[in-house]
Symmetry: none
Subunit: 209 residues, 4 copies
Amino acid sequence: MSLPQIESSPDRRTQILDAALVCFAKRGFHQASMHDISAEAGISVGLIYRYFENKDAVISAMADRHKKEISEVLERARQAPTLLESLEILFTAHCCEDAPQVVSAFVVDLYAEASRNSHVADLVRDVLQTAMDGVTDLIARSPEAASAADGLKPHELAELIFAVSRGMLMRDVLQPQTMTAAERRARQLEVTRRLWRLLFTGQTQPTYA
Amino acid sequence: MSLPQIESSPDRRTQILDAALVCFAKRGFHQASMHDISAEAGISVGLIYRYFENKDAVISAMADRHKKEISEVLERARQAPTLLESLEILFTAHCCEDAPQVVSAFVVDLYAEASRNSHVADLVRDVLQTAMDGVTDLIARSPEAASAADGLKPHELAELIFAVSRGMLMRDVLQPQTMTAAERRARQLEVTRRLWRLLFTGQTQPTYA
Amino acid sequence: MSLPQIESSPDRRTQILDAALVCFAKRGFHQASMHDISAEAGISVGLIYRYFENKDAVISAMADRHKKEISEVLERARQAPTLLESLEILFTAHCCEDAPQVVSAFVVDLYAEASRNSHVADLVRDVLQTAMDGVTDLIARSPEAASAADGLKPHELAELIFAVSRGMLMRDVLQPQTMTAAERRARQLEVTRRLWRLLFTGQTQPTYA
Amino acid sequence: MSLPQIESSPDRRTQILDAALVCFAKRGFHQASMHDISAEAGISVGLIYRYFENKDAVISAMADRHKKEISEVLERARQAPTLLESLEILFTAHCCEDAPQVVSAFVVDLYAEASRNSHVADLVRDVLQTAMDGVTDLIARSPEAASAADGLKPHELAELIFAVSRGMLMRDVLQPQTMTAAERRARQLEVTRRLWRLLFTGQTQPTYA
DNA sequence: AATGAATGAGGCTTCATTCAT
DNA sequence: CATGAATGAAGCCTCATTCAT
């Protein structure tokens, strides 16, 4: 596929979206001004309008990119040798990227926005559905699933997993900004393993012991 | 004649906060204008400033009220006869009140705000800590805890419970507004029971083993 | 003349004007709010409107009162045994009252207001004219006037005297608020005497000495 | 193509300050709205904020510009051949510029503002000090000073001169706006000469004594 | 392609004034 | 006589967006 130079240079768009992520995470979608974004990107305000129709388009594009990033994470998770490792990848994706709790704040804002902006809501729902389907599939195909706790079906397990994931991400936002990405990651991993043992280790700890 | 004079009539404050909740949920903290709130409350803009120093104070007061409401829910949960019922109360508190998904959107916004407004962050963290402590205690004292899955300690179980709760609330925000409070409640209950069985039924595997 | 109780109790009016002076001096006519005044007076906002039609009326009444106070100062000056003492009274009137540089700020504001509010302008002009006439008369009748410097006529001398007086008052406003009323007074007296020697001591210091 | 980009085009600033002067003189610092200023300048409100941080900054800049104008007047006064001419320049500077009594009203307002705004107070005090020093120096070096009345020292003479100057300016504000700049100038000149004769003609008494 | 000056609507907040009690 | 809750117009300021260069 040839990339027509019209309809935006991908590099510029990326540059702007990178800047937007920082600004959105730092101040929120609607508190971040177009000027903030342009300054963060090191370009002029007007230039943003050459690549995005308006601010809402930037937000939508961010949501879109988020969707792609989640897809990639999912792909990586899929290729992990064990289910546990897959889950670890999924649960820590948001805290080891470039910025520490930047992503968490962005995602919480994304959900908040979704509750009012149906376009964003559709996107987020779509992301979620895709990811859930992927994980459901992952579980269904993993050997551990056989001994899944309590006879829960794969899609029920996936739902619990994602709920915990979202819940931890939401909590992440409250952590003082002094917490490093590594510390956040460690915390997420701990919970992931706890959850994994709970869901897939079959009879957990033998009661009779 | 009652004397509401000194330090603000609680009724007015309540009226304003009720209106603010609707507006905040509908448009978000920063997209909701003071005019929106005054219109929703059926009063003039200026009057809000007799009861709140500024918009931030309204947001803080909302957070504060949220804290008290959570405390009350916790109290009710504490008085439930079984742990399962306690959890059901905790998990459905946000979707059966007066407004349907209003509360969910508000809470997600609250966390988003917390990531930037340290005052709000402190409040939310405080709410969370109190609630977690309460539930930890609840678990520690419940007979089911003895057979808790996987040897998880009460506070670890509480952490998982709250993560799921937050995660479900976050998801709630994506539901089309056509979903009724009852439907949301049903969904929450289902997940709650699933989680409960998982965590507290002792041997997750069939009892006959 | 009997004083009808309608058309305002003089005490309340005085109380309000006293408070207004403090507020006006502290914040300026238009920066001082009616609430400021009521708080300073220890009464409710509404009560001010029982005694004054509106804020402008308070300002006008302040100007009016200023006029009467100047008249009284003038009267005292008239009764002083010597011209120098008369001048000393006139020059220091504004810095020994209850508050220190409160009055100076008020008067400067009064002139500023006069430049836009023709009602106030008329009043201030009237005050000035009356005072000038009084001092002109004082000079004309004093023995020192005979040896007045340079053959200046009484009204020309009066004009100079008032110019210096206003000029010193204006400067007063720049003094850090740490300066006490006594220090201000001392400074004013020094200039007064300098001016007096200059204007009325006949051949000043003999040149030949 | 000139580069006015960085740190504000001086022309725009000047244009805004010119408009602000008119508005401030007409309505006072705090009564003049930003809209008034923008309308007077023929630009939009928002544009002012590209050149000034806020309204206070406009006021400060006006005070700053006043300072520079006074410096220029002082410089011109310094180059006058005789002391009398120097004084005439100083005394009439404010009433012959572009606008008639605009400047007087502005200066009175500036002093009023100085009594509450310490930043402005510092500026005005600085202007005054510089000007006083300049005139003191002017006097000290002029031959007339030798025969100065009454043995007054240069700085004492300067103080009197400035007091009279300020006093006349204050009075200027009361003049009906029908008075032309020329008439104001004439009046100022008359007083200036009177003062000069008084202060510097040596023996005020006829020379034959 | 890129800039940033310019616009103006809209948000937050204050405050003079009124009026029911 | 006195209060202070209530109103709403108006002021300051921000910011998404446009457009001449």
